[in-house]
């Protein structure tokens, strides 16, 4: 059973590609056979933030737990959406014909486009009728599109930060940029925001809410809070949320139940932060080497 991570690389000429990657120092390197639907040449990817950081975190989990690596469906996109639209078109066609057993899919930095999102969701539904339904995880731009589409509740997991939770809770906002102030900055508790998002069908069944305190919500109810170790300097570091989403992806690949995977992923990220002793100027690539040790500690604490 494979898991597919779908996202973008912030390089204009980076080709649409499907295959596996491995860590080579602080970079990702294509490994094995790569499907390149439109041709092109792959370069090594620096792990700074975004989908490469997510993949790096998943690879750390896979290596630590001796799991096969995930497939990555990547596209080059620096914001005009063309690369993301190409990915949407390819994936919806590929899902219709593949015989591969897919355990789950994680969607990440993609241009939020409702038409593209809906095409993929229809393809996933058709795939599930022929095979088994994959676990669906969404974060970042694809999560925005999922919410705006009105089909957010077909997903198993969203991983918003506190601001994105307010967006999910705002039934009128099509993008976090339009989140109404009374939800965004009035200090409404995550518990109420999660309830509101769920009540309007604007979130996945499970939410892993990343913040000063990480929270896990299931069906709109908070079921776990993770607040230690507390490393306040983690919030300014770009990409820490990507590490959490990558870690939870790896733990779901390992077969952990959703609830446990979310708690362990949040704990792992906090422990990695504590081990790295970061400042607000620390880069996410400096945290990644601490993930394996943090993961082992988190799983030990968790008695998994």
């Amino acid at each position: 059973m494979s898991w597919i991570i779908c996202g973008s690389v912030p390089e204009e000429g980076f080709p649409l590609s499907l295959g596996t990657w491995r860590m080579e120092g602080e970079q990702l390197r294509a490994d094995g056979t790569m499907l390149l639907p439109h041709g092109g040449t792959l370069s090594d990817l620096p792990v700074q933030r975004g989908t490469p950081a997510l993949i790096a975190a998943t690879l750390q989990v896979c290596q630590s737990l001796n799991l096969p690596r995930p497939l990555a469906l990547l596209t080059g996109d620096t914001g005009n959406g063309a690369g993301s639209l190409a990915l949407y078109a390819f994936l919806s066609g590929w899902l219709a014909t593949t015989s591969q057993a897919i355990a789950g899919m994680t969607f990440h930095y993609l241009f939020p486009n409702v038409d593209g999102h809906n095409r993929i969701l229809l393809s996933v539904r058709a795939y599930a009728e022929k095979h088994t339904a994959p676990t669906l995880v969404a974060d970042a731009g694809f999560m925005y599109a999922a919410k705006m589409s009105g089909y957010a509740d077909e997903y198993d997991l969203f991983t918003p930060d506190a601001g994105e939770l307010a967006f999910l809770a705002d039934e009128n906002a099509p993008h976090p940029f339009y989140t109404r102030g009374f939800l965004l900055d009035s200090g409404i508790a995550p518990k109420e925001l999660a309830q509101r998002a769920h009540a309007h069908g604007n979130c996945a069944r499970t939410l892993l809410i990343k913040g000063a305190v990480d929270n896990v919500a299931e069906d709109g109810m908070l079921v776990a809070s993770i607040d230690s170790p507390n490393v306040p300097y983690m919030e300014p570091i770009g990409g820490t949320g990507d590490l959490v989403t990558g870690t939870v992806t790896g733990l779901l690949m390992a077969g952990l139940p959703m609830h446990q995977a979310c708690i362990a992923a949040a704990k792992t990220n906090r422990l990695a932060g504590a081990l790295a002793s970061p400042t607000p100027a620390t880069q996410v690539s400096e945290l990644i080497p601490f993930l394996p040790e943090a993961l082992l500690q988190a799983l030990a604490d968790f008695s998994v």
Partner: protein
């Protein structure tokens, strides 16, 4: 970006630019405002900068529900200045898909900022975007948040640059996240210039 253009054009037929445009549209009587629709958010950012620099009072807002595709903005303007705006835009090869009278309230972008003091650093958040700056030098040390694909690209361009030297994110940004980052950037620069 596929913007449901056919749907859009069926809803609103845009007359070609003409001197008469400023006198049209009885439905403008309520607000005197219209909005310009573009192919993509990148064009909106360019157009906003151009029109503002020309002294026109414009605002960026969210389009009505029937025009939304996922990452959308429109430019709200005074319909009296439509011919002027169109001439300015044409000079820069910006061709709005439509000019539509404002008849219903449009979505307001986030206008609140949240600032966190980290001692030697401070962080400004606008919507889902955060930018962190070293107080002593004004150097941008981190950019976090966001979900649109130009965020990692813009973050890489900004990190390590000083606020008074870095290119504003709206110049190359093409998404709503980029626009939110731009707002955080401008606010951070204001705070830093005033002395933190």
């Amino acid at each position: 970006m596929a913007l449901g253009i056919g749907k859009l054009l069926n809803l609103w037929k845009t007359p070609p630019p003409s001197p008469g445009a400023a006198r049209r549209a009885p439905s403008d009587k309520h607000s005197g405002k219209g909005f310009l629709v573009f192919h993509n958010t990148g064009e909106v950012l360019r157009a906003e900068r151009l029109l503002r620099n020309a002294g026109l009072a414009v605002e960026v807002k969210g389009p009505p529900a029937q025009l939304r595709t996922g990452c959308d903005m429109v430019i709200v303007f005074d319909v009296l200045f439509e011919p002027v705006a169109r001439r300015l835009l044409q000079k820069e090869h910006l061709d709005p898909l439509a000019a539509v009278p404002v008849s219903d309230p449009l979505l307001e972008p986030v206008s609140l900022f949240n600032t966190t003091d980290y001692g030697e650093w401070f962080m400004v958040r606008a919507a889902n975007m955060k930018i962190t700056v070293e107080k002593r030098t004004g150097t941008i040390v981190n950019v976090s948040g966001g979900g649109c694909p130009d965020v990692p690209w813009l973050a890489a361009r900004l990190s390590g640059r000083r606020l008074d030297d870095a290119e504003e994110p709206c110049i190359r940004g093409q998404t709503l996240c980029a626009y939110a980052l731009h707002k955080a950037f401008v606010e951070a620069r204001r705070i830093w210039r005033e002395g933190v």
